[in-house]
Amino acid sequence: MAGPLLRAEALCLHYGGVRALNEVDVEITPTELVGVIGPNGAGKSTLLDAITGFATPTSGALTFDGQDVLRRRPSERARMGIARTWQTLQLFEDLTVSENVRMAVPRRPKAVGVLPRRGGERAEHDALARLGIGGLADRMPGELSHGQRVLVGIARALAGDPKLLLMDEPAAGLDGSERDLLGEILRDVVASGTSVVLVDHDMPLVLGICDRLYVLDFGAVIASGAPRQVRNDPAVVAAYLGADDPETRDEERLQPSLPTEGAR
């Protein structure tokens, strides 16, 4: 396999005077699990938005699967094989779990939009079964626990058989066993040929399962490499612990972002 799956070069994104991304270089190769960590407001979610097309970079280059995707629309990028999940999940609350997942199953070419997609049922069933939530197919998202909702979000993202899956804080609000299950699922997803980018504040999870890490601070990559290397990198320690007042900085910065309203 030649070349990376995704390559971002010198990606910059400014909101007014705020530099959300500053000359960010990221490379994802096929079948690897890459973690992105950094304090709140470091630009992690913005990076995901820029890759998926929900935010438009001010400058830089972005190639996916050998093609320039910087100016492609988000839906086109989705069809090319970039899937994502949200911290706020963004499930389709009016649709059943299986309908949620079916939405992401690619339609056969030329299929008439109004007709139901019979071929999709298989893929949809597989996506649910793969995460062990086949039994929830006919339930509504509103009836599920937060952990189950996270899994539905992942199942939906996987249903399109993406080449790259970007996940925004999936572990937020999960309990210990759910977090372990999430880790297993992600390793399994990578083993089956999909690369995963995991943005999360859950250090044990990220350090435990990722092949490689990027550390962002103030919109810039301050370190990258294997988890072991990154953990001992002085720049990372400084960013997380701060130089001036270790005690308070430590609490402020290592704290995972507050669970959102979605977390019950």
């Binding site: 988000p74 839906s75 706020t88 963004q90 499930l91 649709l95 139901p116 939906r156 399109g160 979605g262």
Partner: protein
């Protein structure tokens, strides 16, 4: 046409501009503090102006109960009258906030704008009931002596009004920028939870903001009414230019808002000048109507299109709640029961009840169009009557003017409705939510004045005839004998029923289809829909086409029912009323649309009320307005879903009790 003339007219426009500016700054205040787009702002300002005018002429305070304040209906002085008007406006602001918007604090934008349209309908109804729909002369408040300025002579009050707006704007700007109150308001708007934790009373802040907005509206309503005209519809629809100004100011900048308002005032006045010029396009010897209404719409359309963002700026953690849209159930049996009931009713009921039933069925078709565009896809469109009107007017033109035979006029009419609706879907691909609501409202006003009310393309003030349906030489119309039955006959009722049944089944089918699932996906989370590869633009376009089709069917049937179409039937206020009724019934389901049909004016429910309780039809708009407000607060999913939920809960309880009863008997 000299330069002095142009300058003079632009200055004359200062009065109208000041009125727009006063209302628009109020609109910004309420939106910033409570997220409500107060489309009732024009109506409530009109109420103050009417009260003032009544006090100045007969000394009677109308609350609506009339309280004479002076002996022998002596007019009250200007200052006390102004003070009472302002106090009333303040009270109206607090009342609106406490009774309507505070209970809706956590509701989505749909609920808020519907509640606000309920307030509009209610206030408008009160004004019409008390003062009638005809223009009333408003007594002058400010001195109107001519003054010379830059070589032109204009009434003094225009300058005073403009000056007052500038002063008020500067005060507001200072208030929100530098005072504790203003900063607290902005903090509370950013984070309700945060400000509660900081110990700020959101209720007090928000009601204070509503008072400010309402007083501004009332003040400029009273002061500027003499420069325009005191007429309920005109005043209520001032909300369109007002919204244009507020939207251009991004609902945050007082400066841009006020500047736009004065710009619109000047344009408005210049159009009046141009209309008198020989080169201005004429229709039937009179200047082309509707240009004044077209201006804000075009400004809005262009600005929103250029500024529109393709994607939301920020995803809320929990999508603003929309009325539920459960899958339709028991469709077959319901259709059969419906058919039996309607056929029996058409055969057995007297003429007036039959007409009420037909109105109900027509209303239900129109509500179905709201179900698709708003209920399924979440696009708030206030132009549904304009779309229906397009169908009605094209049917009239093809059938009567071009004299083409039966199936052609309705087909052309429905096609025109679909095309009109698609025209509105173009901005819908770029703007969303409340912006679209504002744009479609402006579009509805423009369509009514520029098209339907235009003697050239529409019918002017008279109705345009719609030739009845004629199949194989048999005429099917409300007033014609059918199959030998006594005239007026029920044949037309059957036609309407078949159309309603077809439309309802179509919507059921859409809801169950993959397209329907995609529509609901777009409604829940546009971003997630995009990320799963759904073509959101295509889904919206499909929804607008289908909504146009349904509204078109309704428009065509309206034409046949009244044997004609007239501009006043397809106005924006009717659109707002229908939208409210659709939400009342339940905007997410077919059954909700059917309930909505029962509640339309001249429908079955109001006919029953009129017949049995002797309450005149004049009170229908008032009840409709109040019902809309109450439903949005008490039953946000609409009557149909609430009734279904209630019935299910009752069945559950009943079953449990029976089981318990059986056990109890077994024990004894």
């Amino acid at each position: 046409m000299s330069t002095e003339q142009i300058l003079a007219f632009m200055m004359l426009g200062l009065g109208y501009g000041a009125l727009i500016a006063g209302l628009a700054t109020g609109m910004v205040v309420t939106y910033r503090s409570t997220g409500v787009i107060n489309i009732a702002a024009g109506a409530t300002a009109a109420y103050s102006a009417y009260v003032y005018s009544e006090l100045r002429t007969t000394g009677t305070l109308v609350l609506p109960p009339s309280i004479p304040l002076t002996a022998d209906r002596e007019p009250l002085g200007a200052l006390p009258a102004l003070a009472i008007g302002l106090a009333l406006a303040a009270g109206l602001g607090v009342l609106q906030y406490l009774l309507v918007y505070r209970p809706l604090a956590k509701a989505g934008p749909l609920a808020k704008i519907v509640a606000s349209s309920g307030v509009l309908l209610t206030v408008q109804a009160v004004i019409v009931l008390r003062w009638g729909a005809d223009p009333v002369a408003a007594p002058a408040v400010l001195p109107q002596a001519p003054v010379d300025l830059l070589g032109v002579s204009i009434p003094e009050d225009r300058l005073l009004l403009a000056g007052l707006v500038v002063v008020v704007t500067a005060l507001l700007w200072t208030l929100y920028r530098y005072t504790r109150f203003g900063i607290a308001t902005r903090a509370a708007a950013d984070s309700r939870k945060g400000s509660v934790l900081l110990g700020l009373s959101t209720a007090r802040l928000e009601s204070a903001n509503w008072v400010i907005a309402s007083v501004l509206g009332g003040l400029f309503g009273m002061l500027a009414a003499p420069t325009t005209q005191l007429q309920p519809t005109t005043f209520t629809l001032l909300v369109v230019p007002v919204l244009t100004a507020a939207l251009l100011g991004g609902f945050s900048s007082f400066g841009v808002t006020v500047a736009t308002a004065f710009g619109l005032g000047a344009v408005n006045s210049l159009i009046a000048l141009f209309q008198g010029q020989p080169w201005f396009p004429k229709v039937d010897g009179a200047p082309l109507p509707g240009v004044t209404e077209l201006a804000p719409f075009l400004v809005l359309a262009v600005v929103l299109y250029l500024r529109g963002r393709a994607l939301p700026d920020r995803l809320t953690a929990v999508a603003p709640p929309m009325p539920r849209a459960p899958r339709p159930r028991h469709v077959g049996p319901a259709a059969v029961v419906g058919a039996v009931v309607v056929v029996a009713a058409l055969a057995g009921l007297s003429f007036d009840w039959r007409q009420a039933l037909i109105n109900t069925m027509l209303g239900a078709v129109l509500c179905l169009s709201v179900v698709v565009t708003t209920g399924f896809v979440g696009q708030i469109s206030f132009a549904q009557m304009a779309v229906a009107g397009a169908a009605g007017y094209v049917t009239a033109a093809i059938g009567t003017d071009a004299n083409l035979p039966f199936p052609l006029p309705p087909i052309a009419g429905i096609a025109a409705a679909v095309a009109t609706s698609l025209l509105f879907s173009v901005p819908a691909r770029r703007v969303r939510g409340l912006q679209l609501a504002v744009l479609t409202l402006a579009g509805g006003v423009a369509a009514q004045r520029f098209w339907f009310g235009n003697p050239q393309w529409g019918s002017g003030l008279r109705p345009a005839n719609v030739a009845p349906i004629t199949v194989f030489g048999t005429e099917i119309s409300p007033s014609h004998s059918f199959w030998g039955t006594e005239s007026p006959s029920s044949g037309f009722g059957l036609v309407v029923f078949v159309a309603l049944l077809g439309c309802a089944l179509l919507v059921v089918r859409v809801r169950r289809s993959a397209l329907g699932a995609r529509m609901l996906a777009v409604r829940s989370s546009e971003a997630a829909a995009v990320a799963t590869g759904v073509n959101v633009g295509a889904v919206k376009t499909a929804a607008f086409a289908m909504g146009g089709l349904l509204a078109g069917v309704a428009g065509v049937l309206y034409g046949y029912n009244f044997a004609g179409v007239s501009a006043d039937r397809f106005g924006p206020l009717t659109s707002i009323a229908f939208f409210g009724v659709a939400v009342l019934g339940g905007v997410g389901t077919v059954s909700g649309a059917l309930v909505g049909g029962l509640l339309v004016s001249q429908g079955l429910l109001f006919h029953a009320v009129t017949t049995w309780f002797g309450i005149g039809p004049d009170y229908q708009p008032l009840f409709a307005g109040l019902a809309v407000i109450l439903t949005v607060i008490g039953s946000p999913n609409g009557v149909a879903v609430s009734v279904a939920d209630g019935a299910r809960a009752l069945r559950e309880t009943w079953r449990r009790q029976r089981r318990r009863g059986v056990t109890a008997t077994g024990e004894s």
